[in-house]
């Protein structure tokens, strides 16, 4: 049985070493990202090619997607947040496509590597922090001490809120990465059961076939669940970005 983590191996497709330490080779992960970006570009290009008042099928899809993210931002951040719509929308599409491309057999899930989700999450964190300081100046730091709390609690409350704030990019990254990795490992392990139990089938008076069938039904069920999780995690990633943006913009 192939190792269940084999699927996450990075393979160099086009070696491209700039120097000793700088390696920008095209890997399977990078290729999938490029494919994801092109799928998104192609989709929105075709969908908005004929801009009609009464939208066609593709245009409807694009409009639904737009409305979905726009409403998410309006609900969580408010009108001010629409300025950052392009960023949030791109983030959602990129994560969403990453999760879904991973569901295509023989492809590679780029969101299953913490370096990718970590980079996305750290960018969100940096963007939010920069926006917060740009809009409120040093007053942004006031947010770490709740209004009305006794001043004596400051030495405890401020570090706790600070650590909680600093842990955001990590929890964002780990959540997406862990969900994608766990799902794919689970699928692989169960699919491995189908093969190994099936091979035992004839020798065990058909019991192996029964087990293989049970494992196969689980694989089928979990595949559906994985599609759901792929969409859900893209949604969670985006909505958390919105909530963080809300902190930076409105600063309760």
């Amino acid at each position: 049985m192939a190792s269940p983590v084999e699927q996450f191996r990075i393979q160099e497709l086009v070696p491209l070493k700039l120097s000793e330490n700088i390696d920008i080779s095209l890997t399977n992960s990078a290729l999938m990202m490029v494919i994801g970006v092109f799928v998104a570009l192609l989709f929105f290009w075709i969908a908005t090619a004929r801009r009609t008042v009464v939208p066609g099928r593709l245009q409807s899809c694009a409009e639904i997607l737009y409305e979905f993210i726009a409403n998410m931002i309006r609900d969580n951040v408010g009108k001010e947040g629409m300025r950052y719509f392009p960023y949030v929308f791109t983030l959602f599409v990129f994560v969403f496509l990453g999760n879904f491309i991973g569901m295509v057999p023989y492809s590679f899930t780029y969101t299953s590597h913490i370096v990718v989700t970590g980079a996305l999450a750290l960018t969100v964190f940096a963007v939010v922090t920069v926006i917060g300081f740009a809009r409120h100046g040093a007053g942004y730091l006031r947010m770490f001490f709740p209004k009305g709390a006794p001043i004596a609690t400051a030495p405890i409350l401020i570090p706790i809120e600070l650590i909680s704030y600093l842990s955001r990019p990590f929890s964002l990254a780990v959540r997406l990465f862990a969900n994608m990795t766990v799902g794919h490992i689970m699928l692989k392990v169960l699919a491995g059961f189908v093969v190994s139990l099936g091979a035992l089938g004839a020798a065990s008076w058909g019991l192996g076939y029964l087990g293989a069938f049970a494992a196969f039904s689980m694989v089928a069920g979990i595949t559906v669940l994985e599609f759901f999780i792929a969409a859900l995690q893209a949604y969670v990633f985006t909505i958390l970005t919105c909530i963080y943006l809300n902190d930076a913009i409105n600063m309760h």
């Binding site: 947010m143 770490f144 709740p146 209004k147 009305g148 709390a149 405890i156 570090p159 706790i160 809120e161 650590i163 909680s164 704030y165 600093l166 842990s167 955001r168 990590f170 929890s171 780990v174 959540r175 862990a178 969900n179 969409a231 859900l232 949604y235 969670v236 909505i239 958390l240 909530i243 963080y244 809300n246 902190d247 309760h252």
Partner: protein, 128 residues
Amino acid sequence: MPDTDQTPGPEEIKARLRALRGLPPNGEPAETQDEDEGPGRPSGLGLGMRISVEMVTTIAVGGALGYGLDKWMGSAPFAMVLCLLLGGAAGVMNAYRVVKGLDDSVGLGAAIARKEAKERDKSRGQSG
């Protein structure tokens, strides 16, 4: 055959839908009910996953912060011990938020106040 059998009116369709959803045939519209069941409120596995991620990451960040402070100030191991404890506290706070369904914005007190205000609005909206 009477026409009504083939094309039920909108009222009848509504009544049938209500019956299928297990609701009394006439009453308040059921739209507020599925508000809480969106993807924003995970259940079971998702909830456990979120809590564990929050706990682990905050403690790890606290530990890393303390380690960095120790390296910088040469105060090993005091800053790391302190920050690990604070990280644990932050982890518990975040887990509390997840369980209580509070939002993830900075400031626990403010989050609780917002949630209470939201619930007040909701109950007012339902009664009025």
